[in-house]
């Protein structure tokens, strides 16, 4: 990679050094910065200002004009408007993308306030304040030049320097009405603040100058911002959303914490991309102070040994219209990247996706004034096919193998050499971070949830935009618009533009944003009385709300939730009548639903929604209900399935009808199966007890039941029926039952096994009997011969339980000599005796016959019951 950015990289660094500097300025200024100032000054001397313009938007250029340095000089001594001037100055400077005054600022700042990295809150405050000033630029006239009309508004000073962001309320908004000064033309307003009457230059002159600058700036803007090639003339036809998209970091509406986390992550790539070492500097400055803040800690120190940020990918998630894409683009641009956008409109099949990945991250623009490294922004990533996301994941970790045939050999080698993964930041944007396809991505990515803007702030921005558009609006209306839209910036602007087209004063209804609400919210909606600011809503409105919820879908789950939760939230005991009435609605719902489902009479469907209204009025309380998910139903279904399985197995074994099992046999089973047996050894059982045991075994066998050893949670062992028919028949707390002791059950298990074996044997012999009967007439001589075997004369060969038959080995044939050549006298008489004793009943004749017969059994070492038989082809023919 190093060869890819040789000189231009450094140059780039230098070019953008000032930007970083400013960022650092914002983050926290300390004296240590002096280190870099040399660089900055070098830059400022070396670089023409034209470079900066591209980054610095309109207002900066104006302040580039003559008056700024002088103003600096003026402001400090004058301190007419107390502290704020410095901050003001600083705020301006930030946007100025620092010219020559940095030293100045750095010098004076520590005196003012020493902001440190660990005071993140303050930094955020500061930025927020800066942002406010930014906004203030648009309404400068208040103090200096005008507004005699609104004395009341004057009384509320907007210039209080320690303004809190939260304090920006609707009432302060109403002061900002630019409508009164509209005649002054929206453009001039912009830069008139610096002209605070202290200037030597006359206002009109300044104005003319500024206008000129404005025009220039607009021209430059349209040249510089590569992605939006707008001709000023086309402004009228442009969507406001695009027109007033933030162009500076300071203009971002999204929450500052989010912005910063994101930007910090982006900055971590400096090491890889720009070969600059942000780590050391940062750690030097910030590490000790960062200890307390967990998240930022990981983010800053989060570079692995190769210099990659530890979450190598970032995932911005949040509902639509909050400015995620804007944030990504702006921050990437701010950090000095060329943004490449891949969104849902581009083809995202695996192949195209791969191509896009490679082209975005490994190529570099060589054309253009100053080629920047790329930064890939994957918009709407939750809609991408999972295969593509797989590829993305592999790619990030450098595990993706490129198609070998498509690449020349040299490149392949290179690929192998540095399989470190993606070397450019990749930003993913999605609406739902919990989409199933993003599961793997979510685990490795730095997930930044972008949450909504406050309605007040959004309304402020809207107001500003309206003003710039030359319209006026009621601030409270704007706030309610913001609230209605769920703080969806895009939706608000769209609505405003639409309404702007219409004449003001017309009544326009805007649909509330159609959001997917969580199921718990829906239940809460139904089970809680909604409240306005004044009090409980009126009935009509409530009905509308409930119906709205009910139309949302998932009716079945809603019903289950209501059914599950209502008894918990009813605390008034006397209302059984209402409960009964509400439960009638459950019945109605069930009947309706069933009718719809079975007969497809969908026109009945809407009526079931009114049940929710009935339930709402019956159950809803003022308090916030504690809701739980209706899991009971699933449990019930599981238990039911289990019971059914038990019944089915038993039925298969015994052939007894299911209902008979449930009603009669299962409840009485424990009584039938617990004779009074003492827990002693089987041999000590009395005659009656043995009879009981036999009966018990037979019953169990008949029903196909068995006893199985189970381990209790306490570690003991118990015997349970298998299948557990007892469970079907017993209910808790009904009556006490006797049960067999563990010892008796052990005996029982043994007996069952024995009985089962015996049963099989009986069956086997029965089958063989019938076989013999059938085969007797066919070949009598053979059966005759085989049936000579002593134990079961009638059983054919293959069913005879095998007896060890020792064929007489003639001792003469094997003469063993010992080492000295003497005959070894065998000590076999005892052996022979014992074998003879075993086979007493087998006559030598039989033995001979057997040894000559076709079937033989050879005893080898160990145990084997292999039986072999000679089969000749002619037998088969």
């Amino acid at each position: 990679m190093a060869d890819e950015f040789p000189d231009p990289d450094e140059e780039f660094d230098l070019v953008h050094e000032d930007e970083y500097e400013i960022l650092r300025e914002i983050e926290g200024k300390s004296c240590k910065k002096q280190l870099n100032f040399s660089q900055t000054s070098e830059v400022s001397t070396a670089k023409p200002t034209s470079q900066r313009i591209e980054v610095a938007p309109i207002p900066l250029d104006q302040s580039q004009s003559v008056n700024l340095p002088t103003q600096n000089g003026l402001d400090k001594p004058s301190t007419t408007s107390n502290k704020r001037t410095i901050e003001d100055l600083f705020g301006d400077l930030k946007d100025l993308i620092g010219d020559e005054d940095f030293q100045d600022v750095a010098c004076c700042e520590p005196k003012v306030k020493k902001l440190c990295w660990d005071q993140e809150v303050e930094i955020i405050k500061k930025i927020v304040a800066g942002r406010k000033r930014e906004a203030d630029k648009w309404k400068p006239m208040n103090v200096n030049s005008n507004l005699p009309r609104d004395s009341k508004k004057d009384s509320i000073s907007m210039r209080v320097p320690n303004w809190n962001f939260v304090a920006v309320t609707r009432c302060s908004d109403s002061q900002r009405l630019y409508i009164r000064v509209k005649s002054d033309s929206k453009c001039t307003v912009v830069k008139s603040r610096p002209a605070s009457g202290l200037l030597s230059v006359s206002f009109s002159k300044l104005k003319a100058e500024a206008e000129e600058i404005m025009v220039n700036a607009a021209k430059k803007m349209s040249e510089a911002s590569g992605n939006s090639e707008l001709i000023p003339a086309a402004f009228g036809h442009e969507l406001w959303v695009d027109k007033y998209r933030p162009h500076k970091y300071m203009e971002l509406l999204s929450e500052e914490g989010v912005n910063r986390t994101f930007l910090r992550w982006l900055k971590l790539w400096d090491k890889i991309v720009f070969h600059r070492d942000p780590v050391r500097r940062r750690i030097m400055k910030t590490a000790p102070k960062f200890g307390d803040k967990k998240k930022s800690n990981t983010a800053v120190e989060g570079l692995d040994e190769k210099g990659f940020p530890v979450p190598r990918i970032v995932l911005l998630s949040g509902p639509p219209g909050l400015g995620k894409t804007t944030l990504a683009h702006l921050a990437a641009k701010h950090a000095g990247y060329n943004v490449i956008d891949v969104n849902a409109s581009s083809d995202r099949g695996t192949k195209e996706f791969k191509a896009a990945l490679y082209s975005a991250t490994q190529m570099k623009a060589v054309m253009g004034k100053n080629p920047k490294p790329n930064c890939l922004v994957m918009d709407e990533v939750d809609g991408a096919p999972p295969a593509s996301i797989d590829i993305l994941l592999k790619f990030i970790h450098g595990k993706l193998e490129e198609d070998t045939d498509q690449l020349p050999k040299r490149k392949k080698k290179k690929e192998k050499k540095e399989s470190t993964g993606c070397r450019r930041p990749i930003i993913c944007i999605c609406n739902d971070a919990y989409a199933p396809s993003l599961r793997a991505l979510r685990q490795i990515a730095l997930v930044i949830p972008v949450c909504g803007v406050s309605a007040g702030r959004l309304a402020g921005r809207l107001m500003e935009i309206l003003h710039r558009q030359g319209l006026n609006a009621d601030p409270s209306a704007l706030v309610s618009l913001a609230e209605q839209s769920g703080c969806d910036v895009r939706a608000c602007l769209g609505a405003l533009q639409y309404m702007g087209g219409i004449k003001a004063g017309q009544k326009v209804s805007i649909a509330p944003k159609d959001v997917r609400r969580g199921i718990f919210d829906c239940w809460r909606e139904i089970l809680q009385v909604p409240r306005d600011k004044i009090g409980p809503m009126n009935i009509k409105e409530r009905i509308q709300r409930i119906l709205q919820v009910a139309y949302g879908g998932e009716t079945d789950l809603l019903v289950r939730g209501v059914f599950h939760n209502y008894p918990e939230i009813l605390f008034r005991d006397e209302g059984m009548e209402t409960v009964a009435a509400a439960l009638d609605w459950f019945q109605l719902y069930d009947v309706l639903n069933d009718t719809v489902m079975s007969q497809q009479t969908w026109n009945l469907m809407p009526y079931s929604n009114y049940a929710f209204v009935a339930w709402h009025f019956a159950f809803a309380g003022i308090q916030n209900p504690k809701l739980t998910y209706p899991t009971v139903e699933n449990e019930v279904n599981q238990k039911l399935a289990r019971t059914n399985a038990i019944l089915r197995v038993t039925r298969q074994a015994s052939g007894i009808d299911k209902m008979a099992l449930v009603f009669d046999l299962a409840p009485l089973l424990t009584d039938l199966l617990t004779p009074s047996l003492r827990s002693v050894s089987y041999h000590l059982f009395s005659h009656a007890e043995r009879a009981d045991l036999v009966r018990l075994v037979n019953v169990l066998l008949d029903l196909g039941l068995n006893l199985f050893q189970d381990k209790t949670p306490e570690g003991g062992y118990v015997y349970n029926l298998e299948p557990n028919l007892e469970e079907v028949g017993t209910f808790p707390n009904c009556r006490t039952r006797r049960s067999l002791t563990y010892a008796v059950k052990q005996i029982l298990v043994r007996e069952i096994e024995a009985a089962r074996l015996k049963k099989y044997e009986v069956v086997a012999t029965a089958i063989s009997d019938s076989n013999i009967k059938a085969g007797a007439s066919v070949k009598p001589p053979e059966t005759q011969k085989n049936s000579d075997t002593p134990s079961t004369p009638t059983v054919p060969n293959h069913l005879v339980r095998l007896q060890p038959i020792t064929t007489q080995v003639t001792p003469e044939s094997h003469q063993y000599l010992d080492f000295f050549g003497r005959l070894v006298v065998k000590k076999s008489p005892q052996n022979q005796e014992s074998t003879g004793g075993q086979n007493n009943s087998v006559s030598p004749g039989t033995r001979q016959a057997l040894s000559r017969s076709d079937v033989w059994f050879k005893y080898k070492e160990g145990y084997s019951n292999a039986v072999r038989r000679k089969v000749r082809i002619r037998d088969l023919q």
Binding site: V579, F586, T643
Partner: protein, 355 residues
């Protein structure tokens, strides 16, 4: 065959202990030669299956006693595989189509077709038809019953269908009219008592008459239950005593206890507790109409006459709705809540009147 219920089950129609007149008629009908479809109905434990097996044996002789259990596989039009257990001999096949729930129509159609399309090879000395025995017909879906009625006529030559149900109320009239209905009433108390005593005699035991009567009463004239109870009594304590404890059925006790809970307190909290118990009953495969019945029987004990009629009406109405719906718990709970409301109101008004 070691449970007394199986051991002392009469194997042919001649050995039956009660409804003897009916049995002789059945024998006559079988010997007559021609044999219609039958619909055998009656309360559980009255001896329906015993009689059906008797009929089959009467028809085919002892060959019909060799039973085997097989599972048959069917496939629904939506390619869902169904497996159902059948009990069959060479001459008949018994199946409970409601085992497969809503797919019973497929089973009914396919099964009867496969059975009916095979003819008996040597008709000499044999009947030329086979028997298909469908149990629990009252739980069949409407679809299945409609499917049944056509096949019943179509394959009359090769198969006879015996339907076995608890009540005819849920059997389509079309099917009822195609069958010869045979009602098997529950045995009377004294009939059960004599049967119990004869079993004890054959087992070599002595049972006090009073105990036999108590068992018969506790069994609610369900012979199967009575014999099982007798055996349970024997296992628990042999030399029988008159006042011996007779094992009660758990599910009945549970329903009774639930009813007591309802009577004791009427509040949403109690309702939640009752719901848990209702769920318990349902998971133990107790049919919901039985729960309704059990609850009603227990609840009305505590009411006076006016209230009784009101509650009985409510119960009937709610149970009717339940059969039109699919979630029994809604209807059961609605009934309980309604009862609570009525009962509470009644108690309050009567208290006011008292004061």
């Amino acid at each position: 065959m070691s449970l007394w219920v199986d051991k002392y089950r009469p194997t042919n129609l001649g050995k039956l202990d009660y409804h003897i007149e009916q049995a002789t008629r059945l024998v006559n009908m079988v010997q007559e030669g021609d044999f219609p479809h039958l619909l055998v109905y009656g309360p559980p434990g009255a001896g329906k299956r015993t009689r059906i097996m008797g009929i089959i044996k009467e028809l085919y002789g002892s060959g019909a006693e060799k039973l085997r259990m097989e599972s048959m596989n069917f496939e629904t039009p939506s390619r869902k595989k169904l497996e159902i257990m059948t009990i069959s001999s060479n001459y008949h096949i018994e199946v409970n189509p409601s085992d497969v729930g809503m797919y019973d129509r497929v089973v009914v159609m396919d099964l009867i077709k496969t059975v009916a399309q095979t003819h008996q090879l040597d008709a000499t000395g044999q009947r030329e038809f086979k028997i298909v025995l469908l149990t629990n017909v009252d739980q069949l879906t409407k679809d299945a019953q409609h499917a049944l009625r056509r096949t019943m006529e179509k394959y009359m030559a090769t198969c006879r269908i015996i339907l076995c149900a608890n009540s005819t109320s849920r059997v389509l009239p079309a099917i009822r009219s195609r069958c010869l209905g045979i009602r098997i009433p529950a045995p009377k108390i004294n009939e059960i008592t004599t049967i119990l005593e004869s079993i004890c005699k054959r087992e070599g035991l002595t049972v006090p008459h009073e105990l036999a009567i108590r068992i018969a009463e506790a069994s609610e004239r369900n012979l199967r239950r009575a014999i099982l109870m007798l055996e349970a009594c024997k296992v628990q304590q042999y030399p029988f005593t008159v006042n011996q404890n007779i094992a009660e059925l758990d599910w009945k006790v549970y329903i009774q206890n639930t009813a007591k809970l309802i009577i004791a307190e009427q509040s949403p909290k109690k309702l939640l507790e009752v719901r848990g118990r209702l769920y318990d009953l349902l998971t133990h495969c107790i049919p919901c109409d039985l729960i309704f019945k059990g609850l009603l029987q227990e609840l009305v004990k505590n009411c006076d006459l006016e209230l009784k009629t009101q509650i009985a009406t409510t119960a009937a109405e709610y149970e009717h709705r339940m059969h039109h719906g699919s979630k029994a718990i809604f209807h059961l709970e609605a009934f309980v809540a309604r009862f609570m409301a009525i009962y509470k109101k009644f108690m309050e008004t009567s208290l006011e009147a008292f004061m």
